[in-house]
């Protein structure tokens, strides 16, 4: 392939891949005659538009999911990477089995289960479900991170009189920081963007997450759909994710590769 053909083909394809996002940004600011924030205003004020509490709901779910995923996978990854204990193999295989079972197939049962324990239609219940499906990837990532930390680092701290928990807090967490960023990033992206789980687990519109509320603008509209406000909603959801990708490309690619390779 000559240089000219290569660059024309690849650049044309790149434009094709960038076009939808550029168009959506353009459409979200376009008022027909000029540009302005009217579509964003309608996004937040029209009858079936989104409300500030939808944004807050999403932020709450993200905080709970990211916090819970980090907490469980730091402790679990430390246990799997550095300790031997009864039932270790069985538990690790069990968490890997979560990868084999597509979550869409057990969501019906989770819906019933959350009802039994008083977590129906709740952001906490949704977060627990998001955590569990984030867990195999996160645990795997953290176990590998802990295993990669040189033993000497830990031993010298133990000799200095630290408990294993002290070692974890003071020495290990610092050493596994790249893994933490990747785990946190993916927990955030999943909880911010997830659609199917909140659709099933949340019933009342005041519990809706942002994604659910924006999709609801399409589903709940009986007459014409306000497409321009919809694109404003798309931008509102997508821009944070695009920025995170551009700033954290390295953590991003690492996460995708280890997630895809499943070990």
């Amino acid at each position: 392939m000559s240089r000219l053909t290569y660059y024309t083909t690849t650049a044309a394809l790149a434009i094709l891949f960038l076009f939808p996002l550029l168009w959506s940004g353009f459409a979200s600011f376009s008022t027909g005659s000029g540009f302005g924030l009217e579509n964003y205003a309608r996004l937040f004020t029209s009858d079936n538009g989104i409300r500030p509490y939808h944004v807050i709901n999403s932020v709450v779910v993200c905080l709970l999911t990211v916090g819970g995923t980090l907490f469980i996978s730091i402790l679990g990854g430390y246990a799997f990477g550095r300790f031997n204990f009864y039932g270790k193999e069985v538990l690790f295989l069990l968490t890997l089995a979560i990868l084999m079972v597509p979550y869409a197939t057990i969501l019906i049962a989770l819906y019933v289960l959350l009802g039994w324990i008083g977590l129906e239609d709740s952001l906490l219940g949704l977060s627990m479900v998001l955590i569990i499906f984030q867990l195999p990837f996160s645990l795997f990532m953290m176990r590998n991170s802990f295993e990669a930390v040189p033993k000497e680092l830990e031993e010298s701290a133990l000799i200095d009189g630290c408990t294993s928990f002290g070692v974890l807090l003071r020495v290990m967490l610092h050493a596994v920081r790249p893994g933490l960023v990747t785990v946190g990033l993916f927990a955030f992206l999943t909880s911010w963007n997830e659609f199917f789980a909140p659709l099933i687990l949340l019933n009342s519109t005041d519990q809706f997450t942002l994604t659910l509320a924006v999709v609801n603008m399409r589903t709940a509209s009986h007459g014409a759909i306000d497409y321009a406000a919809l694109e404003a909603g798309v931008m509102f959801m997508a821009v944070p994710c695009v920025l995170l990708f551009l700033f954290l490309q390295r953590s991003y690619v690492r996460g995708f590769m280890s997630g895809a390779l499943k070990g």
Partner: protein, 282 residues
């Protein structure tokens, strides 16, 4: 260093707790539910095996199974070709290649539901750039158009992800092998057939598995973009599960379909794990 085993067990306890509670219990529960007439409100009643024996009579389910299989084949073939092509284009270091990789990967960073909404507006006659003289609904004008718009969306959203996996595989092939083949006088196509493809076998198996499993579980793209229409022609299997559970309020039937789908995917995964492991060992 001697470590008491209970310390590790304490650290692993939260993992064991949530895995048991929110994975093992629902896994057993979905099987249990599938044996019952289980309404959303009210007491469940054992009706085994009615939820399973009713399946062949469920016309929409049959239609959805065929549609999901057809969609899976179309997506797997097209997505593989596009992703492989993109990976070939950006595999060598040259000026601007970093920009191209980022451009192809950028859609992956957008949530799938957001991407579906984005396409809904972009393919609309109201504000979209593909406005026609005569009104055509790109997303639900005909079964073909509806499927085509969903396929376009999925290609845009997922090509970069698969490109990245294939790219990693391509870059793991030692350049000496290519050079040796060239010295032996192999043509470009022969090199591709005899060097690239055989060495990429496990990567190819991996992306194909991810594509197939993902397509069998398709939901967002059809729920948001085509609403399963026109005339249920783009209703996927997972949409039927949703419909049984929350529109027909029959959780037992939804559970039974889930169990069958789960069984198929677990068997598929086990086969794939076996194949991948064997190939890696070779």
């Amino acid at each position: 260093m001697v470590r008491r085993s209970w310390v590790g067990a304490v650290y692993a306890a939260p993992t064991a707790l949530v895995t048991g509670m929110f994975f093992l219990v629902p896994l057993l529960l979905v099987g249990w539910m599938s044996l019952h007439d289980w309404p959303v409100l009210g007491e469940p009643e054992l009706n085994m095996p009615a939820n399973y024996t009713d399946m062949p009579g469920n016309e929409l389910l049959g239609q959805a199974i065929w549609f999901t299989l057809k969609y899976t084949v179309i997506i797997t073939v097209l997505l593989f070709i596009v992703a492989f092509g993109l990976a070939m284009l950006v595999q060598h270091q040259r000026r601007g290649v970093g920009f191209f990789r980022t451009a192809f990967f950028l859609p992956v960073s957008v949530g799938f539901a957001s991407a579906s909404l984005l396409f809904l507006g972009m393919l609309s006659q109201e504000i979209g750039p593909f406005k026609t003289e005569q009104y055509i609904s790109w997303t639900s004008g005909s079964p073909g158009l509806a499927l085509g718009s969903a396929v376009t969306l999925v290609l845009w959203r997922f090509a970069g992800f698969n490109m990245l996996i294939i790219l990693t595989g391509l870059q793991a092939i030692p350049t000496e092998l290519y050079e040796a083949a060239r010295i032996d006088g192999a043509s470009r196509w022969q090199i591709f057939r005899r060097v690239t493809i055989p060495l990429m076998r496990s990567t190819i198996a991996l992306v194909l598995t991810l594509m197939i499993a993902g397509s069998l579980l398709a939901f967002d793209q059809f729920w948001i973009l085509t609403r399963g229409g026109p005339d249920n022609s783009t209703t996927s299997l997972v949409m039927v599960i949703y419909r049984e559970a929350f529109i027909r309020l029959d959780l037992g039937s939804a559970a039974a379909i889930s169990v069958v789908l789960l069984g198929v995917l677990v068997v598929f995964n086990i086969i794939q794990f076996g194949v991948l492991r064997r190939r890696r060992a070779l």
